[in-house]
């Protein structure tokens, strides 16, 4: 089938109608703006020409005076007419333009474009942009719209030429200005940021510097690589140089380290530089008087937001007196330790001596006793009972007995030493006191003593039961033994909690003693009353037992009034 499909026909028809509509609209616009003098309208009986000739001089005036250039071209593109605006735009006279070939104003590079535009223009209308040469040969951008007009019955091409240079320039300038402004904005932003950063940095540095200058320690900063970047006034005071004075090497701490401290201090610093760990060192640094003083050197790394070390901020604190004091204390402590060790040795020696003495003396005294017995059994009874043999034998036996008792007590003491560290257990205090009281009952009865016991407040004490018994026994029997002859003994035994422990008090109204003798009271074999049978070992043992268990014993006494013993038990 040769006939086109209805859809294609309709599309083409539609296209033509739209084209006619656009043409009509443009013509109406051209007429309104005075761009054309006459119109050719396609009618059913062929085109009809409507001219403005003579009829409307106003339009012509308008064309002459409008800003756009208006041109009429003949069929061979010769300028039949141009208005003054175009002549002005091109910097030429009307005479120079009219009658010329229009393409003479078109630059070579646009000749083809112009020819095409022209060709299209003759087909009805066309529109385009191209530069034209002015008198000076400079190119001026124009937009050109063309319409075919029938002018005096001859077809002519009407051109409206609009100068684009101003518009272009403005656009270009605006773009440039905008670009420039943006650039300026960016630069100014950048500057602002830099300035802010600089100010912040300066403020921080000033602040840091002010702080570092203000502190009483020597302060310094160093780069991440360990190069010194700042030292405060204190340092220069210390080394006796003004900043910048003297050889740089002489200003550094390295040069002033004590030879004995150099290796360790430098190694420590290197370690911190490598690891970023805080720097801390005690070293001796030479001052302006060439004296070495002990310094505590410390530095911390200062890091940026990324965690990189920007610098080290450090101080030196003079710890010389402190260090010397410490050394003195150390020395004192060493001395004390030595003394203690010596005392411990002496104590051990004493323990061993007591043990050995008690052991070695026991055999000969047993022998003397045995020999005395043997002698007695050998002597005739008459001789034994005769004077002065009998008193001599009795005195010998007495001496032997006393010797043996002393040895036994020494043995007890030496046993006590060995018992050091005997496990302490909660002991029923009231029960122990009850038992001791039973043991002492004959003495209590015999002396007519009154014994008041109140230990309810302390049910138990932490102690070895055997030793507690011994303590209570010794204190009570002492209170009874050293009674005053002119009054009945009154003994008070009381216990009460004190702090974390407890205190046991035995108070009597007995002989009492001179306060000057209070401390001697606890010595071994110390006796203050020779009329009373005593070994002088009891209180020594009591003190030992109490102290071995971590407690202590004190005494308050008034001669002729009485004595109070206080035993402090730890808990």
């Amino acid at each position: 089938m040769s006939e086109p499909t209805p859809a294609v026909d309709l599309a083409r028809e539609n296209e033509e109608l739209r084209y006619q509509l656009e043409e009509a609209q443009e013509l109406i616009h051209a007429i309104r703006s005075g761009a054309v003098d006459a119109l050719a309208v396609q009618g059913t009986e062929g085109p009809r020409i409507f001219t403005l000739q003579g009829a409307d001089q106003t339009y012509r005036t308008l064309i002459e005076q409008m800003n756009e250039g208006a041109v009429l071209l003949s069929h061979d593109a010769t300028v039949l007419y141009c208005n003054a605006s175009l002549a002005g735009l091109l910097g030429l006279t009307l005479g120079e333009i009219m009658g010329s070939a229009f393409e003479s104003f078109v630059p070579l590079a646009f000749q083809d474009y112009w020819a095409e535009l022209l060709r299209q223009g003759w087909t009805g209308k066309s529109r385009g942009e191209l530069p034209l040469k002015n008198r000076a040969g400079a190119l001026v951008p124009f937009s050109v719209s063309m319409n075919v007009l029938s002018f005096n019955d001859a077809p002519t091409l009407a051109l409206i030429v609009t100068d684009l240079s101003a518009q272009r320039e403005i656009t270009a300038i605006r773009a440039q200005v905008e670009e420039q402004n943006a650039l300026l904005d960016r630069q100014s932003e950048e500057l602002k940021r830099e300035e802010a950063a600089r100010l912040a940095g300066e403020r921080a540095a000033a602040e840091a510097s002010r702080l570092l200058e203000g502190i009483s320690q020597i302060a310094w900063t160093a780069s991440a690589a360990g190069e010194n970047t700042y030292r405060n006034r204190r340092w220069y005071d210390y080394i006796g140089h003004a900043p910048g004075e003297g050889a740089p090497s002489d200003r550094s701490w390295r040069a002033r380290l004590h030879p004995d401290d150099t290796a360790a201090a430098q190694a420590r610093w290197q370690h911190s530089l490598i690891t970023g760990e805080p720097f801390e060192v005690e070293c001796r640094i030479r001052n302006h008087a060439d004296e070495y003083r002990w310094m505590l050197g410390r530095a911390l790394p200062s890091r940026n937001e990324q965690g990189d070390i920007m610098q080290w901020v450090g101080t030196y604190t003079d710890i010389h007196e402190h260090k010397l004091a410490l050394e003195r204390i150390d020395q004192g402590q060493r001395q004390l330790r030595e003394n203690n060790e010596q005392l411990t040795r002496v104590n051990v020696d004493l323990d061993n001596f007591i043990y050995t003495a008690s052991h070695d003396l026991k055999a000969p005294i047993s022998n003397i006793e045995g020999l005395l017995d043997a002698l007695l059994s050998e002597l005739p009874l008459a001789t034994v009972q005769s004077d002065p043999v009998q008193p001599i034998l009795e005195l010998m036996q007495d001496s032997v007995n006393r010797f043996k008792r002393t040895i036994e007590q020494l043995t007890d003491v030496s046993k006590l030493q060995k018992e050091h560290g005997l496990p302490a257990e909660p002991v029923d205090l009231a029960a122990v006191v009850r038992n001791v009281r039973l043991d002492l009952e004959p003495l209590i009865q015999g002396t007519g003593a009154e014994l008041l016991v109140d230990v309810k407040a302390v049910p138990t004490v932490l102690f070895s039961e055997k030793n507690l018994r011994s303590v209570v026994f010794n204190l009570l029997s002492n209170a009874l033994k050293y009674r005053a002859s002119d009054r009945l003994p009154l003994v008070r035994l009381q216990a009460r909690p004190e702090g974390a422990g407890a205190v046991l008090e035995v108070e009597d109204n007995g002989l009492g003693l001179d306060p000057a003798n209070e401390q001697k009271l606890f010595g071994m074999f110390q006796r203050f009353h020779d009329h009373v049978d005593g070994s002088g070992i009891g209180l020594y043992m009591v003190k030992k037992m109490v102290e071995n268990a971590g407690g202590r014993i004190t005494v308050r006494s008034r001669l002729g009034q009485g004595t109070t013993f206080s035993v402090y038990f730890s808990r």
Binding site: Y355, S358, H359, K362, A363, P364, S366, N367, E369, G370, L371, A374, I407, T411, K415, K418
Partner: protein, 139 residues
Amino acid sequence: MQKLTCVLLVDDDQTTNYLNKLLINRLVMTDKLLVALNGQEALEQVKIHCREAHPDCPALILLDVKMPVMDGFQFLAAYNELPLPEKQAIIIVMLTTSLHPQDVDRVQQLNIAGFLNKPLTREKLNDVLKTHFDRHLPE
């Protein structure tokens, strides 16, 4: 009371030996009383008299602890090594003075019949006779 065949006193103290001899003789405990002044001498005596069952082999040895040359402990160590036929018939009792706690431990671990605190008395000897020989001194 049936007397013991032989008693050996081991002590470096001559007076102690004298007194103990006096006591034992007075109590008529034995026919034969031997004395050694240290562990070494005691060991020699035992070696000589106890090679075979013999009346001179001591039935009771009273052994002191502290002695020169060879002390009581060393004697016991050496004695334990001796190959004797009638060892179970020999009763060894140690005589001590006030004992160091450490020595008490040591004595108690020894393979001996018992130990007595010096000085030796009639009662202590009577206890030994009762415990180890099933006999006692006349009242």
